[in-house]
């Protein structure tokens, strides 16, 4: 099993979700995160006081799938989250040792679906 962890622009979430639904992926966990990569921050003024925001808002998607599905999921996310501008995000594939469904106690890939 593989965990596909994707950092994406918040405004691309619906596009990514729709694209994943089309290839049959329904389960995912989404978290609001802040991060810094190549994308520059921006400057705000509050009564003239300057604040530079470097850590920008992103969403983190976590999807655990069977080994043979991982590449397709990653490609689907990459395609649907892309704008071509700096700041589109990153995708990591991480091996997963075990999965357990709490309700039934099922283990392994049967716990995923």
């Amino acid at each position: 099993m593989v965990k596909v962890e994707a950092l994406i622009r918040p405004q691309k979430l619906d596009d990514v979700k729709n694209a994943l639904n089309e290839i049959g992926i329904k389960g995912m966990t989404v978290t609001e995160v802040r991060g810094q990569g190549k994308q520059k921050g921006f400057t705000q003024h509050y009564r003239g006081a300057e604040y530079t925001v470097n850590l920008l808002q992103k969403l983190k998607l976590e999807i655990v799938v069977a080994d043979d599905e991982a590449e397709m999921v990653a490609k689907t996310i990459a395609k649907s989250a892309r704008t071509g501008e700096i700041g589109d995000g990153k995708i990591f594939l991480i091996p997963v040792m075990e999965a357990i469904r709490i309700r039934t106690g099922e283990e392994g890939e049967t716990a995923l679906a």
């Binding site: 705000q44 003024h45 509050y46 009564r47 003239g48 006081a49 604040y51």
Partner: protein, 490 residues
């Protein structure tokens, strides 16, 4: 009438001679007295006090409007602090509603408005003795005396609450409560007496302050500056996110203040009449202009007009028009509103250069804006608006009124600075003014009040620190969270 003669008059005013002297005094007042709106009714003082239902209804409504300004101020300030200090900031305004009310009834009103010296009132109205349903023969002569008293109470409440913005994020709540209680008696009551009280020094001098530019805004603004310097800066790391946590709250608060200010200024006519209408209009015009000019400046300098800027500008405009609201026409109100935004905008930018930590810019908005308003009254006041006033520099009155306005400003600044220094230093070297660094980092909601405004991390309600803190509070010693966890293990 010099202040000395005023005192002589009051000495002669026995019950026996009272009626005759009242008539004489009213005549003298008509000719000489300066203009503060509270005294505008002096013209009617010769008539037998008779309750006017329209005046009474408007003044009651105005008192409620001014009361609503304090919760408005609470929101205005609370939105600008970080989430972990939101309740403490709200509480600093709300507690003024409680503390100042008690003091006002017991002694504050008497010190501000009963007959005494030109500098402070006497003890005649202590416990509101004699302040009842019949009108007074000097203040708001067409409404029950209690209405005038409670209207004035609402001003006494919001004034120390204004100071809280300068000390937000770091002042001990206990020290704050003691400070505003003492300040209310040592600074506010004497200043209100000098400006509005019967035979008050600045009233007799002829300095004009229609609704409290001197008494409320200059006094709170300069006191805020002194107190935040005495208190010390906030101890924040450079990485800490100091941005306002909820700008919608700030805008709602500014809207409530704007709304309440109609009671503050138009209510200060203490009558339901043309002067009240005029004050209402110029108040609105100045606020609207100042809000827009503030964002225009931002648009030019920072390329973006901000919501915080519009809210700040509108409040600054309301501050500046306050002393002038019963004396100026609508076009001067536009000038006053535009002027205050230009002046306060750059005054706030000086803050970082001078290095004092006025958290929410009370000095820049109320101290500087109030001073501009007092001076502008000396420029734009017109007897055509209020015959009990005077003509300013641009209305054929020469520099005479402007000179009196400067004296009024200097007296207010001196009293505010000295009073705040004395009270602040006493508190600093007894109970202390500032919370500990750990308490500041955890947030004042949890450390001062034991509750949080919001669920989640932003509130400062973070597991370990909170546990350590509650243990520290139980044991009554200031142990840090790491020390506390050691205590837990042992």
């Amino acid at each position: 009438m010099s202040p000395k003669q005023g005192v002589l008059n009051s000495l002669k005013t026995g019950a026996f001679l009272r009626s005759a002297v009242r008539t004489l005094r009213a005549a003298i007042l008509c000719v000489v007295i300066s203009l503060a709106a509270r005294a505008a009714f002096a013209q009617d003082a010769a008539a037998e006090p008779k309750i006017d239902t329209g005046d009474t209804a408007w003044l009651l409504a105005s008192a409620a409007l001014v009361m609503f300004m304090t919760p408005g101020l609470a929101l205005f300030y609370a939105g600008m602090v970080r989430a972990k200090n939101v309740l403490n900031t709200l509480m600093m305004s709300f507690v003024a509603l409680s503390v100042v009310t008690i003091l006002w009834v017991v002694i504050g009103y008497s010190l501000a408005f009963s007959k005494g010296t030109p500098f402070i009132g006497g003890l005649e109205w202590i416990g509101l003795k004699g302040v009842g349903q019949a009108p007074d023969d000097f203040y708001a002569t067409t409404t029950p005396h209690m209405v005038f008293m409670v209207f004035q109470l609402m001003f006494a409440i919001i004034t120390p609450a204004l100071i809280s913005g300068a000390v937000a994020d770091r002042m001990k709540f206990s020290a704050y409560v003691l400070f505003i209680a003492l300040w209310s008696l040592v600074v506010y009551s004497p200043l209100a007496h000098m400006v509005w009280g019967e035979e008050g020094y600045l009233l007799s001098l002829g300095a004009l302050d229609f609704a409290g530019g001197t008494v409320v805004h200059i006094s709170s603004g300069f006191s805020a500056l002194v107190l935040c310097i005495l208190l010390g800066k906030r101890r924040t790391s450079s990485a800490e996110d100091m941005r306002p946590h909820n700008l919608p709250l700030v805008l709602i608060g500014a809207g409530v203040l704007w709304f309440g200010w109609f009671g503050f200024n138009a209510g200060s006519a203490v009558a339901s009449n043309g002067l009240a209408a005029s004050a209402f209009v110029v108040t609105h015009v100045a606020a609207a202009t100042a809000g827009f000019v503030w964002v225009l400046i931002e648009w030019i300098i920072y390329k973006k007009p901000t919501a915080l800027g519009l809210a700040t500008g509108a409040v600054a405009g309301l501050v500046a028009i306050t002393p002038a609201s019963g004396f100026v026409e609508p076009i001067p109100a536009i000038v006053i509103g535009a002027g205050v935004s230009i002046i306060s905008f750059f005054a706030i930018k000086l803050k970082s250069k001078l290095g004092y930590d006025d958290s929410l810019d009370v000095f820049g908005v109320h101290g500087v804006g109030g001073t501009w308003g007092a001076l502008a009254t000396g420029l734009f006041a017109s007897k055509a608006v209020n015959s009990a006033g005077a003509d300013g520099l641009f209305y054929g009155g020469g520099v005479e009124l402007l000179g009196k306005q400067v004296i009024g400003i200097l007296v207010a600044v001196a009293l505010a600075v000295i009073g705040t220094l004395v009270i602040g230093l006493i508190l600093k070297f007894t109970i202390g003014l500032q919370v500990s660094e750990g308490e500041e980092q955890t947030g004042l909601d949890l450390t001062q009040h034991g509750e949080t405004g919001y669920a989640g991390l932003a509130s400062g309600d973070t597991g370990l620190e909170a546990n350590g803190l509650s243990l520290a509070m139980e044991s009554g010693s200031a142990v840090t969270s790491s020390e506390a966890s050691k205590v837990q293990k042992s």
